[in-house]
Symmetry: C3
Subunit: 140 residues, 3 copies
């Protein structure tokens, strides 16, 4: 059956709340369907992997003021928070979290500042290899 | 020949004119090539499925003022409007339109406010199943 | 071995520095791994193919002021510039550059204004054909 496991790889380039939400929604949903998920956090997306980063993410531009209203609606609709979805992802054992090494250097983010859920710090070539063997690829 | 029909699935996350245009361009083009197309409208993208939503879509941020100029150029170049492309999509019978159930709840959009072209209201798991069986997946 | 060559196709819709960087990073990385790469520059992305366009690209919105700081950090980290990555792409012989014909008409961009590295000016149908035969598809 191992051969039949499908894979989704997402390049997480955005750091805003509206883009990170679907990343974790899709990742936790796919993982619960026994799909392998690879998340590669790069550029603005790297902020989501900093300690406390998921809580700080805001809606983009002038919408940022609406972030807490959106969070309130999500709580009321019993949609899990991103921290909760990250935990769900980890519990399935199907989701790998990668931080982009080049972004860490450019944004001056040392390893110690990243959350412990990061599986590895890799470059574009390593992720490209995963992408070429995935059924679904997304750039978010 | 049924087996040879290819599929493109697009997660339509954006609600701005510049992003919705390629969604409908790609969908109508692929559908006319006898490719199956699945469009899943989520987050800001759901606005496009509200009655009159496609007409209201604007270029992002400070560019929004240029929307009518862009529409004028499109008319002159005989590029169909998004409403026309949606109609073309439907006429091929190859394009399915899905509204995201979670977004409808979070954005307080009742079913009655959506255009009749919506085929179904589904969650992420249903769409994920389609994505895993598509040749092309895009997040727009 | 020809049959084993994999393909990545990217729809380059964005014209900002933060989005064009990963386009050229991914393209040059994949090309160096002997993957065929197709880049289709459309909408804002077409600006990148204008003469001098890559040098003019800026970070989005209010971040635009940080573009030169980012370029300074990239130079210090020995990350190639986008012009250099474009050159690397071309030298592998694995990267095809396509300009969107509809965008050229809508944005009033004549062929003479494009860089000589453009392989062809094509419409959505031509690109769709390439996308349907690619292992990785991205919309950036």
């Amino acid at each position: 059956m191992a051969n039949e496991k499908k894979t989704m790889s997402i390049i997480v380039h955005s750091g805003t709340f509206d883009k990170l939400m679907p990343v974790f929604m899709l990742a936790s949903t796919a993982a619960s369907m026994d799909t392998q998920v690879n998340l590669f956090f790069t550029f603005w997306g790297l902020n989501a992997l900093k300690k406390g980063g998921l809580k700080k993410a805001k809606l983009p531009g002038m919408m940022s003021i609406g972030t807490s209203m959106m969070k309130g609606r999500m709580a009321k609709a019993k949609v899990p928070t991103m921290d909760e979805m990250l935990k769900m992802c980890r519990e399935t054992g199907n989701v790998k979290i990668y931080a982009c090494s080049t972004t860490m250097e450019l944004m001056h983010v040392p390893k110690e500042n990243l959350i412990p859920e990061v599986d590895d710090i890799v470059g574009a070539a390593t992720f490209m290899e995963l992408a070429l063997n995935s059924e679904v690829n997304l750039f978010i």
